[in-house]
């Protein structure tokens, strides 16, 4: 083999390896969606089971074409803020040569696919919070706005090496504590305030009743699937060595800073374990033990490319303790979040950004023009994420509420949301709705 042939072979190997890597990350990320579906079906009462699952699957189905139509364009074009860079976004328009089978472009499809699955995750996060009373149409539109609009705008700002929050504040959010979890947690909060609680959740004196889902084992298996899916999700947060802005060689994070898959493995596993143990210690509740895994990973996600594993464990443990406490607080505020999404994703996402600001000072960035990671940069980034998530969720849900299309009537809730589904969740021995 001549040197030129060897060089050509290496270029092809890099190209194909990159494609293979993100292809399988995307496949593994679908497990997150499967997990959320089981999670929220199990957390629903029998009469709402299929409505919960159907709405989750439809969010997945709607996210794919809408992310193809405009989501990917937002990511490439909106790095400066609200004014689009049409030149940067041109290759992401749905009629562009890159947005379909193209022998000269091995990368766009797999990157688009991975980002689409991140979008599906954001919609799934909201989906669990609103079970048993949101109307399907309103939910689908909210999910599309969240996944193919708001989340990807936040990613363009803070999860792109040219995003303005990165270039101006040194914002560091490796595993998407802010851009995925705060955004979806606070979007869900905005929706929940307008949606109102499930019938029977709160008493006249404001005290809350426990509404138990029909299958805690299903919920636990679902959460375990989400944990598996996190390996695709967090793996997808890396740039394959041949394709990152740092050039051929070592893996980089999305900001071009070198890292390794080993680094992510250490801290994903330590985050999961710390969160589970922390939440179990706090609650003794298997539901929260499993949700604690999410609390733990999300609490260390922003800095998991850099943490010492022992530090990641301690921070994740704290996330696992704080998550259920935050859920209680949300309930005390009169907000019915059926699965604790605001606490697990919103509050632990805040922890993730702030922990990175507190414990990861002094790391150099990939360019002298980019400021270093600081607590203030992370804090300001957190404020942006909270507002960017909350405001669109609140405003759109408020509009739907005024139009009378947000919430199912109390009688439909009493009968069961599955009355709108052309199937029964369980055999005739188990009542699927009250009709």
């Amino acid at each position: 083999m001549t040197p030129a042939e060897l060089e050509a072979a290496l270029i092809w190997a890099n190209k194909i390896n990159l494609e293979v890597y993100y292809y399988w990350c995307t496949a593994i990320m679908i497990l997150i969606h499967a997990g959320f579906m089981m999670y929220e079906m199990g957390a629903s009462r029998v009469k709402h089971t299929l409505a919960a699952g159907t709405k989750n699957v439809l969010a997945f189905a709607y996210m794919i074409p809408t992310f193809w139509l405009f989501g990917w364009w937002i990511y490439l074009a909106m790095t400066n803020g609200f004014v689009p860079d049409f030149e940067a976004g041109a290759s992401a328009l749905p009629w562009s040569d890159s947005m379909g089978p193209n022998l000269e472009d091995n990368a766009t499809g797999v990157f688009w696919g991975a980002f689409t699955l991140f979008a599906c995750t954001t919609a799934s996060i909201m989906s669990g919070a609103v079970i048993e009373r949101i109307r399907m149409t309103a939910f689908i539109i909210l999910a599309v706005v969240l996944g193919s609009g708001v989340w990807i705008l936040s990613a363009s700002w803070g999860w792109h090496y040219a995003g303005w929050m990165v270039t101006e504040w040194g914002y560091h959010d490796f595993g998407a504590s802010g851009v995925v979890h705060i955004i979806s947690g606070f979007f869900a909060l905005g929706v929940l305030i307008n949606l109102g609680p499930r019938v029977g959740k709160f008493n006249a004196d404001g005290s809350a009743n426990v509404i138990r889902g029909h299958s805690l084992p299903m919920t636990m298996v679902g959460l375990m699937l989400i944990v598996v899916g996190f390996f695709g999700f967090l793996g997808g947060c890396l740039f394959y060595g041949g394709g990152g802005p740092a050039g051929v060689g070592q893996w980089t994070n999305i900001y071009g800073m070198p890292t390794t898959l080993s680094a992510i493995t250490f801290n994903t596993l330590m985050g999961i374990a710390g969160g589970m143990i922390g939440a179990y210690t706090k609650t003794r509740d298997p539901f929260w033990m499993m949700s604690g895994a999410l609390c733990g990973v999300i609490s260390v996600a922003a800095g998991m490319d850099l943490y010492y594993p022992g530090l990641a464990f301690v921070l994740a443990f704290a996330g696992g303790v704080i998550g259920p406490m935050a859920a209680k607080f949300v309930e005390k505020m009169g907000i019915d979040d059926a699965v604790g999404a605001v606490a697990v994703h919103g509050v632990c996402g805040i922890l993730g950004l702030l922990f990175a600001g507190l414990f990861l000072g002094g790391y150099p960035t990939f360019s002298d023009d980019i400021p270093a990671l600081t607590f203030m940069g992370q804090f300001k980034g957190m404020i942006v994420m909270v507002l960017l998530g909350f405001i669109p969720g609140y405003v759109l849900a408020w509009v739907f509420k005024k139009m009378g299309i947000l919430r199912a009537g109390d009688n439909v809730q009493e009968v069961g949301m599955d009355v709108e589904i052309a199937a029964l969740a369980y055999p005739e021995e188990i009542k699927s709705n009250s009709n």
Partner: protein, 54 residues
């Protein structure tokens, strides 16, 4: 229907059906329509059950 944008694999880039042609616009528009129209059907079902269970 001939939808191929290429006549040879040699040096081919975009190979998807109708690449560079009007068919791309047509199917983009149809994708939008087929996302939006089912929402109206879904809303109709919701309204039906809302009325049935008043």
């Amino acid at each position: 229907m001939n939808s191929s944008p290429i006549e040879s694999w040699e040096g081919a880039g975009a190979i998807f059906s109708f690449a560079g042609g009007a068919g791309v616009t047509l199917f983009c528009v149809l994708t939008v329509v087929l996302c939006v129209v089912p929402l109206f059907y879904t809303m109709k079902t919701e309204n039906h059950h809302e009325n049935m269970n008043k």
